[in-house]
């Protein structure tokens, strides 16, 4: 199905691992609604009309559109070459989101069968599943016992319709419409995403999961996710992202807002494996109140350019933020990823642990911020960035920023950039391993501290994806 796309010159660069992109199939599906390309107030109004939204949301969308037009493109990070007039901002594949897998239209079900989603759900590995196809969520299900405890897990569109009060109270409070150009774009044309509410004291023991897939060429996917973890609750949310290989670029620009109330524990895991022609420009931010713990686990393997810096604002004493991330870039890819920790209260702590691999001409950049406000005494922050370069064509950058306005704090940052050690290689090869096997082992060891934070099936997938990327460059 993808043979035609493979003939595109960009995809034939030696060593580019496009051929190994296992999710590169696309369905020749005719969308139910597909707005013409381009961005205007009319498009925004149409999206709002199609969704039958309340007036305040329409107004907010239109205001965000103005912010989007008014803001310049970022002059840092990666090279962004997007023609905003050449994008479909809304594509509806089915006319409602289904609660039974059997009701999902056949061509969409096919796609997700290939990703193995129904099996995982059947096996009880997951507490709930959401699946988004182009602009809208097509399937949503949550375990009955959790529903009974009052846990909400819905598409964001559905949440707006059915739980407007709690939605309105929190929506866009963490990431305002004018936060940055791409957050403004998302706020103007958002569609889909997950809405999660976990009531006080409820602990969800297995992950909730969402899959995002872009199926339409020149498509912009702008899902919006809002997670509210009430006092003392626990939740782990996992998202996976894929797209078929098209010859022209797509844009994924999500906004994720998370509120961790007192004592809540939220973990948000992303395995981003977009095909290598997707611009992945995402704004993710959480606020953590007293003694809450917020962890972002972020794996970036796909996309052409990713610019993503998950943030935690530590608002009250005892809050803890963590970002654990792996980025891997091969030829033609730039992973500009990082983390932001803002210590706005005393005795808050944060950890950033970033590992990156640059392979076969790929470029990885760590870009981060640790900010300590004056008066935020007793804060601790530890940042560690390690980069491994697998050849002399690749590039690795580290751009950490520390802004420390308080004396009674303990802030450290360390980073290393290295290649696969010759001594390590020699040792393994002297034990009978080939050079390829040895390199893979060393890489696996390098990323292991992050991998072991992932749920089992994701850990396996992540290891396999990294191996696939390496196969393009070695052996």
């Amino acid at each position: 199905m993808v043979t035609e796309e493979r003939s595109h010159p960009d995809l034939q660069k030696p060593g580019v691992v496009k051929d190994d992109y296992q999710f590169g199939f696309h369905d020749d599906a005719e969308a139910l609604v597909k707005l013409p390309k381009g961005l205007s107030a009319e498009v925004v109004n149409t999206i709002s009309d199609l969704k039958n939204e309340p007036e305040w949301m329409r107004k907010l969308r239109l205001r965000a559109l103005e912010h989007f037009h008014a803001r310049p493109m970022p002059n840092w990070g990666g090279e962004i070459d997007i023609d905003f007039d050449d994008i479909h901002y809304f594509v509806r594949a089915t006319d409602r989101d289904e609660e039974s897998w059997d009701d999902v239209p056949e061509y969409i079900k096919d796609t997700y069968d290939k990703l193995g989603i129904p099996e995982a759900e059947k096996k009880g590995l997951l507490a709930g599943v959401g699946a988004q196809y182009d602009s809208e969520v097509v399937y949503h299900n949550i375990r009955e016992d959790l529903e009974e405890k009052g846990v909400l897990f819905l598409s964001t569109d559905q949440a707006l319709q059915e739980h407007e009060e709690i939605f309105k109270e929190h929506y866009s409070t963490i990431i305002p419409a004018n936060d940055n150009k791409f957050a403004a774009l998302n706020t103007a044309v958002w569609s889909g995403g997950s809405f999660i509410y976990v009531p006080k004291g409820v602990k969800v023991d297995v992950p909730l999961q969402a899959y995002f897939r872009i199926n339409t060429e020149n498509m912009g996917q702008f899902e919006r996710t809002l997670i509210i973890a009430d006092e003392g609750s626990e939740i782990h949310y996992v998202e996976g992202c894929t797209a078929p290989i098209y010859s022209s670029d797509s844009l994924h620009s999500a906004v994720v807002e998370i509120i961790c109330k007192k004592g809540a524990n939220v973990r948000y895991t992303t395995i981003q494996n977009w095909s290598n022609n997707v611009y992945n420009l995402v704004t993710k931010r959480a606020v953590a109140y007293e003694n809450a713990v917020m962890t972002w686990v972020d794996g970036n393997l796909g996309s052409k350019l990713t610019m993503k810096y998950p943030a935690v604002y530590l608002m009250e004493p005892g809050a803890h933020g963590e970002v654990l991330s792996i980025a891997s870039a091969s030829g033609g890819q730039h992973q500009d990823a990082g983390a932001k920790m803002v210590h706005a209260a005393p005795n808050t702590t944060s950890v950033i642990n970033s590992k990156s691999l640059a392979i076969d001409g790929g470029r990885t950049s760590y870009r981060g911020l640790v900010k300590i406000y004056e008066g935020a005494e007793g804060c601790k922050s530890n940042v560690r960035c390690d980069a491994l370069m697998l050849d002399d064509k690749s590039r690795s950058d580290t751009y950490p920023t520390m802004e420390i306005d308080e004396k009674h704090v303990d802030i450290t940052h360390e980073a290393t950039v290295s290649k696969v050690g010759e001594e390590q290689l020699f040792y393994l090869m002297s034990r009978g391993l080939t050079e390829d096997e040895s390199t893979k082992l060393i890489v696996n060891g390098f990323i292991e501290p992050i991998i072991k934070q992932l749920p089992m099936e994701y850990a396996v997938e992540m290891n396999r994806l990294v191996e696939l990327q390496m196969e393009g460059s070695i052996g």
Binding site: W76, E374, A387, M389, L390, D391, D392, K393, S394, R395, S396, D397, T398, Y399, P400, T401, M402, E403, I404, D405, E406, K407, H408, V409, D410, I411, T412, H413, E414, A415, T416, V417, S418, K419
Partner: protein, 444 residues
């Protein structure tokens, strides 16, 4: 060294007449006057930093005397300069009213040139013309710095040319003293060092002015420093910044190291209301090594900023940056340092360490160590830290009967020692140790 004829001019923007007057005053050759006039044109075409530039975002731009100064007058030897110039030296160029230009006979005989830059431009045209402005000029300068660089290229008055011929080693240090007096003064300096292959020298540069009690008009200093280090040479450069607190001091330094050469940039900041140095060195191949060292104690509302660039564009070089500072009062430090290794920079080892000790509640520090690595066979690491004095160390000392103020002073001195000990010139190391002590409230 006497006043320039335009000294004390009214507070207007610099004009071509000023430039011509300065050039005529120092009896400069036509090519140099024309170079100054060209720089003035660039100055007029460029704009000041807006504060949006990545390396200017953290600099307080409000109230900078960028356009409210008159050409600095030369006065007496500042009292703060006393003791900064070592008595055992190979040469001294001092810019004050009873200034001196001296060079040890032995060095002169071997072809060393150590002279005011204008004089050298007359007497050694080929040498000066080849190198002047080759490493620091408005076209090469980073965004935001260019206009300051152009201004100083047009109107520098305190200049030094230091030339060391092939295989000549000058054992004792050379000293260069720059001074200013008066309020709302604009002082521009240019230092050009050319060390031929296999040569060796140590240059200590001191910028000093006495505090002006009750001064309400700030002064502007822009210094330009260029270092050309030939293959296998060794150049140790030390900057002692002792400006009064009316001074806003900028510096732009550029260096290029030859194959196997060694160089040090040492900087100590003990004065000036704002200090912002931009240091960019290209390290050579095959064992070439560069040390970039910074030491400071921030007091009052001082702003101390280091913008550094360690460029490895060839194989087998190494470099190490160590910046250590203690910050008291409401002072603030920024370190924005980049290690850039291009694809040609295989077998490079490069490091950065930035450590800031916060001594008061109002102090703050923003260390930003950046790596841009395009070669794989490299060893590269950086570390940055900000924190208070370790309470355990304090407790240990106080339990030994040392009063709290002395305990803190001892800890800070110990903290800075790792950087101070690597600064060039034994006499200057003593000077710095003493300055650290005095800035922390200890006796002289």
């Amino acid at each position: 060294m006497s006043d320039t004829t335009v000294a004390g001019t009214e507070l207007t923007l610099p004009t071509a007449e000023w430039v011509e007057a300065v050039s005529a005053q120092y009896d400069e050759p036509v090519w140099l006057r024309d170079a100054r006039l060209a720089a003035l044109q660039q100055y007029n075409a460029l704009s000041w930093p807006s504060g949006q530039e990545e390396t200017w975002r953290r600099t307080p731009l409000e109230g900078l005397p960028l356009e409210s100064w008159r050409m600095a007058m030369v006065g007496g030897l500042p009292a703060v300069a006393a003791g900064l110039i070592g008595s055992e030296r190979a040469g001294l160029l001092s810019h004050h009213d009873k200034g001196a230009s001296e060079l040890a006979e032995k060095a002169a005989k071997r072809g060393v040139i150590f002279a005011p830059l204008s004089q050298a431009a007359r007497e050694h045209e080929a040498l000066v013309r080849t190198h002047l402005g080759s490493l620091v000029n408005p076209d090469l300068a980073a965004v935001g710095h260019a206009r300051l660089v152009a201004l100083s290229a047009a109107l520098w008055t305190q200049g030094l040319f230091c030339y060391v011929p092939k295989d000549v080693a000058i054992e004792q240090p050379l000293y260069h003293l720059m001074t200013k007096t008066g309020e709302a003064a604009g002082l521009f300096t240019h230092t050009l060092i050319v060390a031929e292959a296999g040569s060796q020298c140590t240059l200590v540069e001191v910028g000093a002015s006495d505090p002006i009690p009750g001064a309400d008009e700030a002064s502007l200093v822009q210094r330009t420093i260029e270092v050309v280090a030939g293959d296998g040479s060794r150049v140790d450069l030390m900057q002692v910044n002792r400006w009064g607190d009316d001074v806003v001091a900028f510096a732009s330094a550029g260096g290029k190291l030859g194959r196997g050469s060694q160089a040090t940039w040492g900087s100590a900041v003990f004065g000036g209301r704002l200090h912002k140095e931009q240091v960019s060195f290209e390290i050579g191949s095959d064992g070439s090594h560069f040390d970039l060292l910074g030491v400071f104690v921030g007091t009052g509302s001082q702003h101390i900023e280091h913008i550094t660039h360690q460029l490895h564009d060839t194989e087998g070089g190494s470099s190490e940056l160590i910046i250590k500072g203690a910050l008291d009062g409401d002072s603030r430090a920024v370190q924005y340092g980049t290690i850039h290794i291009t694809p040609a920079g295989q077998r490079t080892a490069a490091q950065q360490t930035m450590r800031n000790l916060l001594l008061s509640d109002g102090a703050s520090a923003d260390p930003i160590p950046i790596l841009e690595i395009e070669a794989d066979d490299v060893k590269c690491a950086h570390a940055a830290a900000v924190g208070p004095v370790d309470p355990e160390q304090r407790f240990y000392l106080e339990s030994r009967g040392i009063d709290p103020a002395s305990a803190e002073r001892l800890i800070v001195q110990g903290f800075l020692t790792a950087a101070v000990d690597r600064l060039p010139d034994a006499h200057t190391r003593e000077v710095i140790t003493d300055l650290v002590n005095r800035h922390l409230g200890g006796g002289a």
